[in-house]
Symmetry: C2
Subunit: 615 residues, 2 copies
């Protein structure tokens, strides 16, 4: 399967290494060189003889060089089946000589577009002759060799030196690369063309008649994933959009499919919280919804006790560390094995908090060297550390394939601001009933539900989510679900919970879980035995009366909903966990009844007019 | 910007409509037709004169037709800049005539590969001349028209009829499509080549040096959506993969983004349930997770009472109607405004059940005429009716863009079978402790969680989901959430609930909701007043003691989990709602403790070895 090279056609815009390669081919291997324009000049300047393609074909170069190589003598020479009697005869009769190798680059179309060139110049940079030769040579790779990049030159030389020609394996490999290059080249053209049509407003109306332009998304594989959502879903991988960047750099570990979904959502949540509140922000994700999220607001002493940190230590935390401590403690049972995100550079304080928690990874805009060292040593070195690229701007429209349907939609790029919370306060007293803290919490809760799988509601207090209700099939179920989390969060601050005396050696996460079960109280007999074994003396139960008494003191909580409350029932439920402020889009036929209900409970409600479904 | 057509080059493998178009061009518009081989024959057979390309170029067809159109007279005729003095001069001197239009298809490479053809035959089906002409014509679209599919013929005819030639807007749009086609064509070749190398073990090492192929997904816009997940997310739309079909036909209504996500998941769920159990199946979706799902198993009399149907009527239901009645009644509060799917042709029985429920739409493999009439009149004619295409096969790998990352993964195409449930029963008694009904319910619950947003668990009984816990951040939260639904479902069959005496005129959905609130019992004072007003006489409360007493009789329930139980706590919780059977993948370091826990509660547990995360 060795093919000796006797004649080569060379046409390169990138001249790197070409003289060296052609010197090897001509001087030591006696290969005849065909070439055009700038390439021919470069070779001749180096003292290498070469034949102009127009001389070779006998067809004069015309039309400003638009049709140099599109000639039977070139393509016949590339495409003829060697050893096929009929083909050999045809070649003789038509004076077609064999061309064994093509060395080329394509006109730099993508670079021309990137340089901001105007339409006509971009069109001019669509290479016609190059792709044709590339494709003819690659198709006929049983006999011909297609070389498309300077990084292949050494391999070519070595192969010819070793074998006296190119091997089939090499020709096949180079042919595969050539078709990939061609695909990528035309994809860039197709994508650019579609954008031109969009901007010219020429694409929208014609979509129904079937002749609307297709949409080409060209992905550059960046790294493979071990598997997708599940181990049997192979292959799986992460790609970038051709010509664009990935939003994150992997600094440590090997992220999985769900890790990266978490990272994208967790990062956007904290980035937007930071921008909206001016405070350091953190989130703690599990299965593409937040278990918790918070901005840096100081802790009360009772919170310190509930989160197992001394007031002194808490007062000295950096804002980033404080934000993550809050985010992690909204629902520490759920945050077990979380994916974390923080809005600011990760410092040692933050890294040390993460160090003692079970967590899968983190995404942040940067890391101090000490923080990075601490995180890299976590999980036996497997803790995932992603750095979010500053100023990364994704495409405005995202595509998603589900069972043969490709869904496209504009990203949810609405920016949640104070304005949303203040422009339409429909309850008694109007906007003046809103405090600055309430507005902050409404923003925190709304940005949180923006990145929570729908249906969802979220409860916030003191800049911190204290109950997130994700993924439910009815509005009131979201409220019940998240409301229970709020109760549990509050009751973790009950004196009887704070006073639980664990045996020495009971682990941190076991203490967390044991407190939740103490609050819930609904043990099976089997379970109670093991639960009680964690304490020096068996704790007295926390009774319903005690719980209700404690919850009566709950106040100042904010609820935000990703869509309107269709009935007043959600408000009825919310009233039981200290809700004073409500943010929701509004738009239900029952808005008036819901407002009346808020007034009855003394709540302040803002209609934001922004729905935040997320899937 | 109108270009009249005087000469056209035609080369099509798909002859659909070509004679009609060429008759129009030649007979009524006097266009000169150039053609090759089979196309020329077809045109001549229809009485149309056409000139062979070889005659036109003066270059004999040789090399078995490998080099027919790769000639300066063809490409010069396509590429020359009209009106450019130098170009016009060159054309005169070189006897190059203008070609104004190219009509072509490419050799069917993808179909050849799909047919299982061997390497050489696939290579032979790589079109060389076609893409070259396509690209030349598209590049020079300022003057030339590239037509690449029969669905464009009518538009071409209309345009020439109206304007006397093609408009720039049309030429540009067709050029964009041509490059998209070329990109897609070479992407298919590149992808196939990469696979060949992989199979030959020749590729793996080269992915790091930039020579790995790109991936091109080419989408054909099918219909626009009013908006995406939210009203401010515009534009939005649904596309098909170029060359493939959509899975559904819209028979009525205008589906939205989330409707279609629901439809895809709801349909796959019932399709797989049908295949796995042999029974008619139905599901009821809200926000991309099931509120309920079931197969056609007869109702008990108590269930009939709870679902407000007489035993006689229930006994006469068709299997499809029975399945939907069950699916809708798992959690009728959540199913309010659902998206329904059924596995079989929708009959009148099923349509009549849907008619009286608040529902957004349905997907099914077909509809009887009566059923379709009933459904089309629902919601003032806006009820969405989708017909699932039989034998639709989606691509094996799906792509999804999230914040600049493109996630690709093999679809979750695992087929859940009896084998999964029986091969590894780890509890006492082994597989012989499993009944056929239990195996059916394990399959039902597992297929249900396969299409439920993760984390999730689902509880099944009598072929019906009786509690689905979707979208949670911890395993045990899924169990608590779904477990509460199981309790509510059971307690809807409590004599005191069945005996509730509503005032005349209380609506169906209000009765549903009122029963749930009666069971939950945690009214606020505000709420209790309104609740009590629905009854003739105020009902006695359903006490915790009564509820616990009733739930003690619960038994035979199956739980399936989308991932392993990390701790025994989930089983402890499950034991409270009558669970007898457990299906989960296994693989936790605590599997032994979880098994021990199941044994303590007398449950039978199968390890399926299949994780079912879904996002």
């Amino acid at each position: 399967d060795i093919v000796p090279i006797t004649r080569a056609l060379i046409s390169v815009s990138d001249k790197t290494g070409i003289v060296d390669l052609c010197t090897f081919l001509h001087t030591t291997k006696n290969v005849e060189l065909l070439s055009t324009g700038g390439t021919a000049k470069a070779l001749r300047d180096a003292g290498l003889p070469c034949i102009d393609v127009s001389e070779y074909t006998g067809s004069p170069e015309c039309l400003d060089g638009r049709v140099k190589t599109l000639h039977p003598k070139v393509h016949g020479g590339l495409l003829a089946v060697r050893g096929n009697a009929k083909h050999e005869q045809d070649m003789l009769e038509n004076k077609i000589g064999k061309i064994d190798m093509t060395i080329l680059n394509l006109y730099p179309f993508a670079a021309t577009v990137a340089s901001g060139a105007e339409f006509g110049q971009c069109i001019e940079n669509i290479d016609i002759g190059g792709p044709s030769m590339l494709r003819s040579t690659a198709k006929n790779h049983a006999f011909t060799t297609i070389v498309t990049g300077p990084d292949q030159y050494d391999e070519i030389k070595a192969c010819i030196e070793d074998h006296g020609g190119t091997t089939l394996a090499l020709r096949k490999k180079f042919a595969a690369r050539a078709f990939a290059l061609s695909a990528s080249y035309d994809s860039a053209i197709a994508t650019w063309f579609a954008k031109q049509l969009e901007e010219g407003g020429e694409s929208s109306s014609s979509s129904s008649n079937g002749s609307s332009p297709v949409v080409t998304r060209v992905y550059k594989p960046e790294f493979p994933l071990k598997y997708g959502c599940n181990p049997h879903q192979k292959p799986a991988g992460i790609s970038s959009l051709l010509g664009a960047d990935l939003p994150f750099t992997v600094l440590n570990g090997t992220p999985g499919y769900i890790n990266l979904l978490d990272a994208a959502n967790a990062w956007l949540l904290v980035k937007e919280l930071r921008e909206a509140t001016g405070l350091a922000a953190a989130s703690s994700f599990k299965h593409v919804s937040p278990a918790g999220a918070a901005v840096a607001v100081p802790l009360t002493d009772v919170e310190c006790a509930a989160y197992e940190i001394t007031p002194d230590a808490a007062a000295n935390l950096t804002p980033t560390a404080l934000a993550y401590l809050r985010a992690r403690n909204a629902d520490p049972m759920c945050s077990f094995g979380d994916y974390a995100a923080v809005s600011d550079v990760v410092d040692e304080d933050t890294a040390l908090i993460l160090k003692k928690e079970v967590s899968d990874g983190i995404v942040a805009p940067g890391y101090t060297p000490q923080a990075l060292d601490i995180l890299k040593s976590k999980k036996g070195g497997k803790f995932i550390v992603l750095e979010a690229k500053a100023n990364f701007v994704p495409d405005a429209v995202e595509y998603r394939e589900v069972y043969g349907m490709t869904f496209s939609q504009r990203r949810n790029d609405v920016v949640i601001t104070k304005e949303h919370m203040t422009k339409n306060v429909v309850t008694k007293g109007g906007v003046s009933a809103l405090t600055e803290d309430a507005i902050r919490d409404m923003i925190v809760a709304s940005i949180c539900v923006k990145y929570t799988q729908s249906n969802s509601v979220g409860f916030a207090k003191d800049g911190m989510m204290v109950g997130v209700g994700a993924g439910q099939q009815s509005r009131v179920d979201c409220v019940k679900l998240a409301g229970r989390k709020v109760s549990t969060w509050y009751l973790r601050q009950h004196p009887k919970v704070l006073g639980l005396q664990f045996k020495a050696g009971v682990k941190r996460q076991d203490r967390v879980n044991a407190r939740v079960r103490y609050i819930e109280g609904d043990f099976t007999d089997e379970e109670r035995v093991r639960w009680e074994a964690q304490f020096e003396t068996v704790p007295e139960p926390l009774t319903d009366v005690e719980k209700n008494e404690f919850m009566k003191k709950a106040t100042g909580v904010t609820i935000s909903s990703d869509a309107f409350f269709p009935f007043r029932d959600s408000i009825d439920h919310a009233s039981k966990v200290g809700v004073s402020f409500v943010a929701q889009p509004g738009g239900s036929v029952q808005d008036a009844q819901v407002t009346e209900c808020c007034d009855a409970y003394g709540m302040v409600m803002s209609l934001t007019d922004v729905r935040l479904f997320h899937h």
